[in-house]
């Protein structure tokens, strides 16, 4: 900590002259910034540097690419991100239009609608996991009662299990993105809609020529940010399927942790390095956007 704060202080006092008067302010500035700088250096910069150093062996990548679980995880991750994001953002866009409709009961519903976001994910994901239990879960029991046939073994098939993990992810994060888009819609001046209804515009025309142009930037930013977070979503997959059946539903986020638990840190870091080409451009885009 002190290594960061001290050079600035010395430089300011040694300079003398007009700068000298500023020095207590500069010194306090550095002192107040120092705790975060220390946190960053110790818990971000050093670990990331150390991690990249661990991932330097080409051998790790050869081993990683030879592991069929890795190829499967890459495919799963891409599907999870592309399908998941588009479904989620389209639903959020639609529902934000629903929730800005002025009705008392819709206001009450919007309060309930936040619940999946407000409660921790572990118990609710486990709850969904039991609902999908082939023998005892409520979903298959209802299917049996209605049709007399046995429902599918939801978490024992790669594609069904992955789709369920995607639904869990959407269930959890849909309220947040809907809230963001509601805020965006509420910022659109009401006069635009009044003028449009005077001109006899249809619902679609109002959306196409008023709502969408005002919302598109926010929508894109949200989609990118959501993509970054979805790439790092560990809970939805790990707590629902545990990566199973037979490690077929892993995504890169859970695969890295799987290698770590198997004490193959080199492979864990190599997995993360392989995810970076996906993550870094998105991070760059977001930083550009926020730094403006």
């Amino acid at each position: 900590m002190s290594t960061v704060a001290l050079p600035g202080v010395e430089a300011a006092t040694a300079d003398g002259g007009p700068r000298r008067r500023l020095s207590p302010w500069q010194a306090w500035g550095l002192a107040l910034l120092a705790p975060y700088v220390a946190v960053f250096l110790v818990f971000v910069l050093y670990p990331v540097g150390y991690g990249l150093w661990l991932a330097r062996h080409p051998q790790s990548y050869v081993q990683l690419f030879a592991d069929p679980v890795f190829a499967g995880s890459v495919v799963n991750t891409l599907i999870f991100v592309v399908v998941g994001i588009n479904l989620k953002m389209a639903a959020a866009l639609f529902l934000s239009g629903f929730f800005v409709t002025a009705r008392p009961w819709i206001r009450w519903l919007s309060v309930l609608f936040i619940l999946p976001w407000a409660v921790p994910s572990i118990p609710t994901i486990l709850s969904i996991r039991f609902m999908l239990n082939p023998e005892w879960g409520v979903v298959n029991q209802v299917i049996f009662r209605l049709t007399g046939a046995d429902g599918p073994n939801w978490l024992n098939d790669r594609w069904i299990a992955l789709s369920m993990a995607m639904l869990v992810h959407i269930w959890k994060s849909l309220p947040f993105w809907t809230m963001i888009l509601i805020a965006g819609r509420l910022a659109i001046p009401g006069e635009l809609y009044e003028a449009a209804s005077v001109d006899g515009a249809s619902v679609w025309q109002r959306f196409r020529f008023i709502t969408w142009p005002s919302l598109s930037t926010l929508y894109l930013t949200s989609a990118i940010l959501s993509m970054i977070w979805t790439l790092g979503d560990f809970n939805s997959v790990y707590l629902l399927t545990g990566g199973g059946p037979a490690d077929l539903t892993h995504v890169l986020a859970t695969l890295g942790i799987r290698y770590l638990r198997l004490d193959q840190v080199d492979l864990a870091m190599a997995t993360i390095v392989c995810a970076l080409p996906l993550v870094l451009p998105l991070v760059y885009f977001m930083m550009k956007r926020l730094s403006r």
């Binding site: 600035g8 306090w28 500035g29 550095l30 107040l32 910034l33 705790p35 975060y36 946190v39 960053f40 818990f43 971000v44 050093y46 670990p47 150390y50 661990l54 629903f98 009961w105 819709i106 519903l109 309060v111 309930l112 609608f113 619940l115 999946p116 407000a118 409660v119 994910s121 572990i122 118990p123 609710t124 486990l126 709850s127 039991f130 005892w136 029991q141 009662r145 269930w171 809230m179 805020a183 965006g184 930013t221 790439l231 790092g232 979503d233 560990f234 809970n235 707590l239 890295g256 942790i257 770590l260 840190v265 870091m269 993360i272 995810a275 993550v279 991070v283 977001m286 930083m287 730094s291």
Partner: protein
């Protein structure tokens, strides 16, 4: 007639949305008031609702619940510590960057933003190794510091946004009156950004209370772990007492939900504004 049609359409959207939202939470609640037999029967309401499960959890009368209160206290302590430390770290940094215009502040802010955008599951692996190097593994400090690392970038960003909106004349007036930087910080700055501090503190607290991955990696001793890790342990057995798991899960989920709704006013204005700027 047209009006009636609009209402009908709204209701047709509203009902599926309500079912979709509430089903997993209702299912959890249903298990918590059912005996094991009734929970597994697939009924939508138990014939004999009971609070027995809550008694078992509170009295720790199950192998998986041996340390329930201890783990509850761990979760609480860690969440409060993360909230408090994040507030101190982030308020200082935001004040320094925004009001004192400290040299290098821009760079630090960019580092923080970069950390914010790196998915936490990817940072977990190197963080785990580093905690091992520091000898912090399996101590609660590891989890507290890891969560402060994850929570503070966003906290700094939100507080900096709020600080930039304060009138610059305030600082000048304070300087002319001979206030020290610390007095400006304590007496002028902190009271003015109090609503954002509430939002950020709550954010960090909830983030730490809800965290599963880091808690599960960094802690292993049954007496040190937090509630979510304990919930995960239920899955290790084939015949897990799911009704107790759901009961514990419900107890664990209630405090953050209550806090969220209590501070919703601050959370929505303070955090959504900072989350995505169009």
């Amino acid at each position: 007639m047209k009006r009636l049609l609009t209402e009908a359409r709204l209701v047709l959207i509203g009902i599926p949305v309500a079912i979709w939202t509430l089903l997993p939470i209702y299912h959890m609640f249903l298990f918590s008031i059912s005996t094991k037999e009734e929970a597994f029967s697939g009924e939508l309401w138990p014939a004999h609702p009971t609070l027995r499960n809550f008694g078992i959890v509170f009295r720790e009368q199950n192998y998986f619940l041996n340390h329930f209160w201890r783990q509850f206290a761990n979760s609480l302590l860690i969440a409060v510590a993360v909230g408090a430390i994040t507030l101190v770290v982030a308020a200082g940094a935001a004040f320094s960057i925004s009001r004192l215009r400290t040299r290098g502040g821009r760079l630090v802010l960019n580092c923080a933003l970069f950390t914010y955008f790196i998915p936490a599951a990817f940072l977990a692996v190197p963080m785990y190794k580093a905690m091992g190097t520091y000898g912090l593994l399996n101590t609660q400090w590891a989890l507290i510091l890891a969560m402060v690392t994850i929570a503070s970038p966003y906290a700094i960003w939100v507080l900096k946004q709020a600080s930039d909106k304060l009138p610059w004349e305030l600082d000048e007036a304070a300087r002319i009156d001979g206030a020290s930087p610390l007095q400006l910080f304590r007496l002028v700055y902190l009271p003015l950004i109090a609503p954002s501090l509430v939002a950020v503190g709550t954010y960090a607290l909830l983030l730490a209370w809800n965290e599963y991955l880091y808690a599960f990696l960094l802690l292993s001793n049954d007496k040190d772990i937090t509630l979510p890790v304990a919930l995960g342990h239920f899955l290790s057995a084939d015949d897990s007492p799911w009704e107790l798991l759901m009961t514990t899960g419900l107890i664990y989920a209630l405090p953050p939900a209550a806090i969220y709704y209590a501070f919703k006013r601050y959370m929505v204005t303070g955090l959504t504004a900072g989350a995505v700027k169009s």
